[in-house]
C-alpha cells in the first residue's frame, strides 16, 4: 500500500465533503437531533402520571393518603369524581393513566386498625406504564400503611415499631436509577452506526455512478488505497460525533463518566471502524448510492435499537433472538460503554466484549476489501 496515494484519496474525499455541505451538515446534525430526541423522549422513569380519584371517605385520613400521592414526583392528581362513570370517562379519553378509589369506611377502619382495601385502576392499554404506576401506587399506599401503624404504636405507647425484616434498597452504579444514565451509552452507539454507515455507503457507489471509477482503475491506484483513503475523512467525522455525544451526555443530560475517558474513545474508534467498513461493504456490493444508503440506515439502525440491549433487555428475549444479538456489534459496544460510563470498569473485565468488537471490525475491513473488484466486469 502506497501511503501517498492513500493520502491523495483522503484529501480528495475531504474536498468532496467540504463541497457537499448538505451531507456534511447532515453528518453533524443527525447525531445532535438523535441525542436530543432520544435523550428527552426515551425515558423509562415515571413522572407525573395523571391520576384521578374517587374519594368516598372524604376524611382527613383519606386526604392524608392523597397528599402522599400529590407530593410524589411520580403522580399528579388531575381531578376528583364521585362516581365510576366519572373515572371511566377520564380513563377512556386517556386524560388519566390510573384511578384511585378510596372506600367510604376508609378512615374508620384505619382508626380501628382494621385491614382496609383501596382500589387502584390502571389503564391496561399501555401495559408497561400501567404496571409500573400501579406498583408505584402500591408502594405509596404501603408507605402510608407503615406510617399509620407506627403512629398507632406510638399512641399506644409501645415505642417504635421495628419491622422484622426490612429491605434496604440500593442501586449500585446508578443510585438514582436514572434511565438516562443507561440510555446515553446506547444512544452513542446508535448515532455512530447510523452516521458512519450512512456516510460511507455512498462513497464507492458514487464513483461507479458518475463514471469516475473507470478513470481511477486506469491509474496505479490500488483497491485498498482507495478504500482506506476514503474512510479517513469519515473516521474523523465519526469521532467528532462521538465527542459531541459524550459532551452532550455530560452537560445536557448530566451523565457522568465514571471510568476512563480514553478507553471510551478508543473503544468508540474500534466500533466506528467496523461501522464505516460495514457501510463501505454495502457501497461496494450494491454499486448504487440510493440502495446502499437505505440499506445502511435500516440494517444499522434497527438491530442497534432493538437487539443490542439498548432499550430491551437481551435476557428477556426469546432464545433465537438472543442468539442473533451475538452478531450485533452494538451489543458489545453498549456493554462496554455502560461498563465505562456507569461502573468505571476497564479492559480487565471488558476484554471479551472488546475482543468481539475488534473481530467484527476486522471482519468488516476484510469483507470490504474482498468484495471490491477494482476492474470493470
Amino acid at each position: 500500500m502506497n501511503l501517498r496515494r492513500l493520502a491523495a484519496v483522503a484529501r480528495k474525499e475531504t474536498l468532496h465533503l467540504i463541497r457537499d455541505w448538505r451531507s456534511l451538515t447532515l453528518a453533524l446534525a443527525i447525531p445532535l437531533i438523535l441525542i436530543l430526541l432520544y435523550g428527552y423522549a426515551l425515558t423509562l422513569d415515571l413522572r407525573q402520571v395523571p391520576t384521578v380519584v374517587w374519594d368516598q371517605s372524604k376524611t382527613s385520613t383519606s386526604r392524608e393518603l392523597l397528599s402522599l400521592f400529590q407530593n410524589s414526583p411520580s403522580f399528579s392528581i388531575r381531578g376528583y369524581y364521585d362516581s365510576f362513570t366519572g373515572l371511566q370517562k377520564e380513563l377512556d379519553s386517556g386524560r388519566a393513566m390510573i384511578a384511585l378509589v378510596i372506600p367510604a369506611d376508609f378512615a374508620n377502619k384505619v382508626q380501628a386498625a382494621k385491614p382496609v382495601k383501596i382500589q387502584i385502576i390502571g389503564d391496561g392499554s399501555d401495559a408497561n406504564t400501567s404496571r409500573l404506576s400501579m406498583n408505584y401506587a402500591a408502594a405509596v399506599a404501603g408507605l402510608f400503611a407503615r406510617t399509620v401503624a407506627a403512629e398507632q404504636m406510638q399512641l399506644k405507647g409501645r415505642g417504635e415499631l421495628k419491622p422484622p425484616v426490612e429491605m434496604k434498597e440500593r442501586s449500585w452504579y446508578n443510585p438514582d436509577l436514572r434511565s438516562q444514565n443507561v440510555l446515553i451509552p446506547g444512544i452513542i452507539a446508535l448515532v455512530m452506526i447510523v452516521v458512519a454507515a450512512m456516510l460511507t455507503s455512498t462513497t464507492i457507489a458514487r464513483e461507479w455512478e458518475t463514471g469516475t471509477m473507470e478513470q481511477l482503475i486506469s491509474t496505479p491506484l490500488r483497491a485498498p488505497e482507495l478504500i482506506f483513503g476514503k474512510v479517513v475523512p469519515y473516521f474523523v467525522i465519526g469521532m467528532t460525533d462521538v465527542v459531541m455525544a459524550v459532551l452532550m451526555g455530560k452537560y445536557i443530560f448530566a451523565v457522568p463518566i465514571v471510568g476512563s475517558t480514553l478507553l471510551l474513545f478508543a473503544m468508540s474508534a474500534l466500533f466506528l471502524i467496523g461501522a464505516l467498513f460495514f457501510g463501505m461493504t454495502l457501497s461496494i456490493t450494491l454499486k448504487s448510492q440510493v440502495l446502499a444508503n437505505q440499506i445502511a440506515i435500516v440494517a444499522g439502525f434497527l438491530p442497534t435499537l432493538l437487539l443490542s440491549g439498548f432499550v430491551f433487555a437481551i435476557e428477556n428475549m426469546p432464545l433465537p433472538l438472543q442468539l442473533i444479538t451475538y452478531i450485533v456489534p452494538a451489543r458489545y459496544f453498549i456493554a462496554i460503554l455502560r461498563g465505562i460510563y456507569l461502573k468505571g470498569i476497564g479492559l480487565e473485565i471488558l476484554w471479551a466484549d472488546a475482543l468481539f468488537l475488534g473481530i467484527y471490525s476486522l471482519f468488516m475491513i476484510i469483507r470490504a476489501n474482498r468484495a471490491f473488484k477494482f476492474k470493470l466486469e
Binding site: N2, R5, K12, S218, T219, P220, L376
Partner: protein
C-alpha cells in the same frame, strides 16, 4: 521527453494478440490483433457496439480479457497490470473527473496518484496548463467547464506522468470544432514526443488524420491501414450531383438507376455506383427529362465515411430502406398542406438566468417543411432557445410563434403540435420497445386503433420489428436514437425539435437518421435540429450560427460559405501536415492553419498572395509532394472563422478572451 529505454523505437508500444472478450453469449471483441508504434496515432473506428470501448478497456488493463493477451510498453496487461498502469494514460468515454473539484485540485489528485514527485510536478503542471490553454480556469470547478474544456482537462490529468501510451475512448465526442482543433494540436505534439496513441472516434474526418486506421465491426477488425489504403476498399465509385433540387432529383433517380446506394447531403446527391460513366449518362438524361437544374456533376474521391458506409452498411443492425416508403403515407396529411408558410418565428427572443444572458435578442423565421440547423459550441444557447420554442421555458423578453401559437401564452397548444427529442433520449431503459411507444402514445392521447397503427409504424420506422419485445437498455445507440425519434413523432406533429439527436451515434446510424429527417421534411414537416457535426450542418436547408447567446450568421450552407466568410481557404495536401501547421501559421498573410481531414486548411485574407508565400516556404523546405488548391470553405472553416472574428472583436472591446 527522454529517449525511450524500455521500448526501442522499432518495437510496438501497444500490442494486442488475439484479444477476446465475451459477455454471456455475446462476443464483444473477437481475436483483436494490432500493433501501434511509438509516435503513431492509430484510430479505431466502427459502429456502436462494435467492441471499440471494450478493446480499449482491456488494453488499459481495467478489464480482464476472456482470452488472448496484450502488452503495453512491453508489459503484459493481465500479469503486469501495475507496470502497465505506470506507462499508460487512459481517457474514458464518460467524464472521469470530479465535478465538485477545481481544475487544479483534479490535476493535483492525479499527480499524487501517479506519484509525480514534488520537484518536477510544478513544471509539468505549468506545461500542461499552457499546452491545453487551461491556465485561466485553474480555480474553476470541473463541473462548470464546457464539454471541450472538460475533455482537455481529462487529457491533462492523464498526461501528468508523461506516459508512453495514450488510450482515448471517443475523446472529442460532443466537443465543438474549436476545442477539437485544440485537442488535435495537443495529440500531434505528443506524437512528436513519440507517444503511441490509440483512439476511437465517431468523427470520420478525425480518423483521416490518424497515421493508421482500424475498421472494427462486431468485435472483429476487418481492415487496417493508412486512411489512403482504407479508402481503396471502397466498393464502387462516387458520383455527386449538386443541385438546388437535390432531394427531388434523388427521388426521381432512385427508381431508375441501379446504384449501390444513393443519399442526399445538403444540396448534393451522392450516388455510389459500379460503372460511373454509365450512371452519369443515365442520370443526366433522367434529370434533363424532369427539367431540374443541375450545378455540377462530377466524381468525388471517397471519404472514410463513404468507405465505412460501403463496407459496413450491409449488416443486420440497420433497417433496410423499405420502411421509408411506408413513412410517406404516414406523413401524407402534412404533405398536402405544405407550402411556404411560416412554421416558427421569433423576434428579439431573450432569456436571462440571473445576470447571465443565455439567449440574447434572437430573431429568425423557419418555413414549413424546412430543415433548420442550429449550430454553436456548448453553452452557446441552442438548447435554451429550443426549450423556449417548445414552451418548456418562458422567455425573459421578446416574442415568437410556433405553428401559429404564441410561445408565451399558448404553450399547451404548442405542445400538442410539436415533437421534441432531447439530447439524452428520454426512453425508459427498463421498458421494452413497445412499452415505451405505448407510454408516449398514451401521453399524446393515442388509443385503440390509432395507437395500434402508430405503434406498427414506429417499430418499422425505427427498424425494430424484430426487437419489439426487447428491453430498451440492450439496444445500441443508433436504435435508441431512432426509437426516441419515433416516440417523439407518434402524434404526427407538424414541427419536430431535435436537440443534438446524433451526438455519440456512429456514422452509419447518422446517415440512416438523416434519411428519416429528409423524408419527414418531404412530407412538409418542419425539422429544427441542433448539431455539433459540421458535415451534418451542410445537410440542412438553412443554418443559424449561435455563439454567446447571439445569432452571428444565418443562411443556407452555400450562402454562409460564400457570403458570411471574408477569409479564403487554401487546402494543402502534403505528407505530415501537422508538422507544417506551426511554421505555416507564421507566414505573412496566413491567419490560421489547421488540420482538416488528411490535409491542412490555411485561412487567409488574400489567397493569391498567401499561395505565393506558401509555395516559397514549401520550396525552401524542399517539400515536393504537396498540392495547393483554393477551395470553398467547409462548414467547419466557416464556423471557426466566424467565432474567432467575434472573439477578436470582443478582445479589442474588453478584457482578455475568456471563452466559456
Amino acid at each position: 521527453m527522454q529517449p525511450n529505454t524500455t521500448t526501442p523505437e522499432n518495437l510496438p508500444a501497444i500490442e494486442a494478440d488475439g484479444l477476446s472478450k465475451t459477455f454471456g453469449e455475446v462476443k464483444a471483441v473477437d481475436r483483436l490483433t494490432l500493433q501501434v508504434y511509438p509516435g503513431e496515432i492509430f484510430g479505431l473506428v466502427g459502429p456502436d457496439g462494435a467492441g471499440k470501448s471494450t478493446s480499449l478497456r482491456m488494453l488499459a488493463s481495467i478489464m480482464d480479457p476472456s482470452s488472448g493477451s496484450a502488452r503495453i510498453a512491453g508489459c503484459d496487461v493481465s500479469r503486469e497490470a501495475a507496470k502497465v498502469k505506470e506507462h499508460l494514460a487512459y481517457m474514458s468515454q464518460q467524464f472521469g473527473l470530479y465535478r465538485d473539484l477545481t481544475v487544479q485540485e483534479n490535476i493535483d489528485f492525479y499527480a499524487d496518484l501517479y506519484g509525480v514527485t514534488q520537484k518536477g510536478r510544478k513544471a509539468r503542471i505549468e506545461e500542461l496548463l499552457d499546452f491545453s490553454h487551461m491556465r485561466p480556469f485553474v480555480n474553476r470547478r470541473a463541473g462548470d467547464l464546457s464539454g471541450g474544456m472538460k475533455q482537455k482537462l481529462q487529457l491533462a490529468c492523464a498526461l501528468i506522468h508523461t506516459p508512453k501510451v495514450l488510450l482515448l475512448d471517443e475523446p472529442t465526442n460532443g466537443v465543438d470544432p474549436l476545442s477539437r482543433r485544440d485537442f488535435w494540436r495537443i495529440l500531434h505534439r505528443l506524437r512528436q514526443d513519440r507517444v503511441s496513441i490509440l483512439l476511437t472516434t465517431a468523427y470520420l474526418d478525425e480518423a483521416e488524420r490518424c497515421d493508421r486506421v482500424g475498421l472494427i465491426n462486431q468485435g472483429r477488425i476487418i481492415a487496417v491501414g493508412t486512411p489512403e489504403e482504407i479508402k481503396r476498399l471502397m466498393q464502387g465509385r462516387i458520383l455527386t450531383i449538386r443541385s438546388n433540387e437535390a432531394r427531388k432529383i434523388l427521388a426521381i433517380l432512385q427508381g431508375r438507376l441501379s446504384t449501390i446506394s444513393a443519399n442526399v447531403f445538403g444540396d448534393t446527391v451522392h450516388l455510389v455506383c459500379r460503372d460511373i460513366e454509365e450512371t452519369e449518362k443515365l442520370a443526366r438524361q433522367v434529370i434533363q427529362e424532369a427539367g431540374y437544374p443541375v450545378n455540377q456533376i462530377q466524381e468525388a474521391p471517397p471519404t472514410l465515411e463513404d468507405v465505412f458506409v460501403s463496407v459496413l452498411g450491409h449488416d443486420g443492425s440497420h433497417p433496410t430502406r423499405k420502411p421509408l416508403r411506408q413513412q410517406k403515407q404516414a406523413f401524407a396529411s402534412h404533405a398536402a398542406t405544405a407550402s411556404r408558410e411560416i412554421a416558427v418565428e421569433v423576434q428579439h427572443l431573450t432569456r436571462r438566468f440571473d445576470s447571465f444572458i443565455a439567449v440574447d435578442d434572437m430573431s429568425f423565421q423557419v418555413q414549413r417543411g424546412q430543415i433548420f440547423g442550429f449550430l454553436g459550441p456548448n453553452g452557446a444557447g441552442k438548447s435554451t432557445t429550443i426549450r423556449m420554442l417548445c414552451g418548456l421555458l418562458r422567455p425573459s423578453s421578446g416574442n415568437g410563434t410556433v405553428a401559429g401559437f404564441n410561445i408565451r401564452t399558448e404553450t399547451e397548444e404548442i405542445k400538442l403540435r410539436i415533437g421534441y427529442m432531447s439530447q439524452k433520449f428520454s426512453l425508459y431503459e427498463d421498458l421494452t420497445v413497445e412499452e415505451n411507444i405505448d407510454f408516449y402514445g398514451g401521453i399524446y392521447g393515442l388509443s385503440g386503433n390509432r395507437l395500434d397503427l402508430r405503434r406498427d409504424w414506429a417499430v418499422e420506422m425505427a427498424g425494430l420489428t424484430e426487437h419489439r419485445k426487447s428491453l430498451t437498455a440492450v439496444l445500441s445507440g443508433g436504435w435508441k436514437q431512432r426509437l426516441a425519434l419515433a416516440c417523439a413523432i407518434l402524434h404526427e406533429p407538424p414541427i419536430v425539435f431535435l436537440d443534438e439527436p446524433t451526438s455519440g451515434v456512429d456514422p452509419l446510424s447518422r446517415r440512416r437518421f438523416w434519411d428519416l429527417i429528409y423524408s419527414m421534411a418531404d412530407q412538409g414537416i418542419t425539422v429544427f435540429v441542433t448539431t455539433h457535426y459540421m458535415e451534418e450542418a451542410e445537410y440542412c436547408d438553412r443554418i443559424a450560427l449561435i455563439y454567446g447567446g447571439k445569432m452571428i450568421a444565418a443562411g443556407s450552407p452555400l450562402e454562409l460559405k460564400t457570403r458570411s466568410m471574408q477569409d479564403e481557404i487554401i487546402d494543402l495536401r502534403c505528407p505530415d501536415p501537422q508538422a507544417l501547421a506551426e511554421p505555416l501559421r507564421l507566414l505573412p498573410g496566413v491567419r490560421d492553419a489547421a488540420l482538416f481531414g488528411s490535409g491542412l486548411h490555411i485561412v487567409t485574407a488574400d489567397a493569391e498572395a498567401a499561395r505565393k508565400e506558401i509555395n516559397r516556404f514549401l520550396q525552401e523546405n524542399s517539400i515536393a509532394e504537396a498540392t495547393l488548391a483554393t477551395i470553398l470553405p467547409s462548414m467547419e472553416d466557416v464556423f471557426v472563422s466566424l467565432i474567432e472574428e467575434v472573439d477578436r472583436r470582443n478582445l479589442s472591446a474588453d478584457q482578455p478572451g475568456d471563452r466559456p
